[in-house]
Symmetry: C2
Subunit: 411 residues, 2 copies
């Protein structure tokens, strides 16, 4: 189907999605979990075909992301069931005033409308995104990676079976078959037809959206996260935090890429850091000052602007807090930053001076996550300030509408 036609269909069921009750949405979600499991064998067969085709073209890591087995499909079903436990955000009254002229002005939470999601190889995103959009009253249009097309088709077929069984239109969840650049570009340009575009993927995809998108768009996921070890830091706490933020899962966006160290504790801290990072087989890329204190690779010009997503940590010694803040302002992607300090005033100055979605005092950046924040789920981490910021749960997929009740008022 042409994307324009598919978006028209999506637009046509917006009111249906908005007016679904919480009970109806939960019924659909449970049914979707069931139909995913009932169709697990077909999904896995399609996934095997995708894997065969992709084998010669993509890396081991990418292949692992693409792969589905029964346990992963069970996880997807479980994810859908978990959404039924969350509160329905739609219809919530955000404010309510009665004006002197008698007008009652209510600000009511409404869905964004048609949410398009562009993502890469992981097919579990297909059911996750569909479930999140459904529960938040949105219609979704999903455009997964080319290498996962057969798998995604079977997943969406299973989701459609659930919509049919519960008597709701299949247009609530649609898959874009055009997995080429044109498909993505058509979504980015579909003004008035896509109410929100969420690109989930690497730097290239996000950049393409920034350059080309004419529809409202939320940038997600690029994280050059910093840990600043202050002069008033508990150095053993700092070591655990840097270690965790760097090495517990280097491939994710909330992992740290850069450690800034106050000059007054650099001589004490850097040898500790070097020892621990050797244990964790993590390479250090050092600024000239750090290189005078410990051994390691000298940092190149790009090392403080790279999301390594790997066992690599850039290290820089700074003279003071203002230098740390200036460095972060120039190099951060606005995701998550942390300070380790026991000085409350310094912590406050750090929070005021850092313009990122999440800012931590004495904790690892790895906590920037919908589940860890108590949102129960997550569509991604927004690194922008317009609209949702930080982890995007159900509320972050909504807007609001003023609903004004009068009795003939004129102005």
């Amino acid at each position: 189907m042409e994307i324009a036609q598919l978006l028209e269909r999506a637009q046509s069921v917006k009111t249906h999605a908005l007016t679904l009750t919480a009970a109806q949405k939960n019924e659909i979600l449970c049914e979707m979990a069931d139909t995913l499991l009932e169709n697990a064998q077909r999904i896995m067969t399609a996934n095997e075909q995708d894997m065969q085709k992709a084998k010669s073209q993509i890396s081991e890591t990418m292949l692992d992301r693409l792969m589905l087995n029964l346990s992963r499909i069970e996880g997807m079903a479980q994810g859908l069931r978990a959404l039924t436990l969350l509160e329905d955000p739609i219809g919530q009254e955000l404010s309510h005033v009665q004006r002197p002229n008698g007008l009652v002005i209510r600000r009511v939470r409404v869905p964004m409308g048609v949410v398009a999601v562009i993502y890469e190889s992981r097919p579990n995103v297909t059911s996750d995104a569909a479930g999140l959009c459904l529960k938040s009253g949105n219609v979704c249009v999903l455009r997964g990676g080319r290498e996962a097309l057969a798998t995604n088709r079977e997943i969406v077929k299973a989701l459609h079976a659930a919509l049919e069984r519960t008597g709701h239109p299949c247009e609530l969840v649609q898959l874009v078959e055009d997995t080429g650049r044109e498909g993505a570009a058509a979504l980015m340009q579909a003004r008035g037809k896509v109410d929100l575009l969420i690109p989930r993927g690497g730097k290239g995809l996000i950049q393409a959206c920034v350059e080309q998108a004419k529809v409202p768009c939320i940038e997600t996921g690029t994280g050059i996260c910093h840990i600043y070890v202050d002069e008033a830091a508990d150095l053993s706490m700092a070591l655990e935090i840097v270690d965790n933020a760097k090495t517990s899962r280097p491939s994710v966006c909330n992992a740290a890429e850069v450690c800034l160290v106050h000059a007054s504790c650099a001589e004490a801290f850097l040898p500790m850091l070097k020892e621990r990072m050797e244990l964790k087989r993590t390479e250090l890329r050092l600024c000239p000052r750090a290189a005078k204190i410990i051994e390691g690779t000298t940092a190149g010009p790009q090392d403080f602007d790279t999301e390594f997503l790997d066992y690599v940590l850039a290290v820089k010694v700074v003279e003071d807090l203002p230098e740390a803040l200036a460095h972060i302002r120039s190099h951060s992607t606005g995701h998550s930053e942390a300070i380790v300090t026991s000085n409350e005033q310094t912590a406050q100055r750090f929070m005021d001076g850092v313009d990122s979605a999440a800012v931590y005092v004495n904790a690892s950046t790895r906590f920037t996550d919908g589940g860890e924040f108590g949102l129960g789920c997550e569509m991604g981490i927004s690194t922008q300030k317009l609209g949702a910021r930080g982890p995007m749960g159900l509320c972050e997929l909504t807007s609001y509408q003023y609903r004004i009740l009068g009795s003939g008022q004129v102005r």
Copy 2:
């Protein structure tokens, strides 16, 4: 000054703006009101120069928008003082949770950062926008119309005098001297330097922003607003509401441009409407069905997609509520729509089916306004769903940041 340099300066005082206390902001606002009045004569002299230059080039209406006299300058000063009475939105805690691991996660309201405003001839916007940005903790970069440049320079000089007297950096409020297209384009493209762009102006400006902007942008102000007179409407109430929405101030964005009438009351309502609109010297542009009932100009193909901003009203007879909703969905700009009905279920279906910032039951669309909504002030009316929607007061110029306090937590 080059725009890049000006934006660097603006960025450099973001933390200063964010950390201003409410008392400091109010002191600056009062001082700005004083310096505007102290410099009224210089501002009026500059305004006369602007008026002389513009006289041969722009219309009477535009000239009136450009004109400042003492009473208008007093109004600007009063606008700044009025802001001191509003609550400071910055630092408000929007949520606060303590997680089982002991992390305290606070969602705190923060400014957007550097807000750029592109506007047209009215010079009062210069002080209004500066005041709104200051009170909401933002740094502002103002780019007014070419024809108001001398006036705007004097206004900004007066505002700077107030910043100097109170000991704050003048970079908090800056004027872009390049009033050509390049100046606007440079702001639209300044990724990472403009945190929010607000175009205030006509369709051409908004369209240019949609096409060119690479910075976060809020579309404001285009309003093709509809009034739907339902079969269950009190027709005399409907007449007053349509009359008010159309004729009380046709040049503003919340004025109605289109009246939809249910077929079952068209024969009764349209003659009433024709009589009243003749009294108000308002031209009707009629769909074929309406033209069978009353006399008037036949509507052309563009008449249901035009923001007339004038004494012109397009009229269409619809068979039922779904046809009214379908028409609104195809032709609305997402600003404000109203239904006149005494049927509560119909009213609910109308609100659920209309995807606009404000939706009215039995009241005029003219109430979509920051003052009327009780926000105390307004930067414009957002017609988009990402970020602020509807009237933009102080809170609508803010974002939020997660501030997480730990004691060494790792994941």
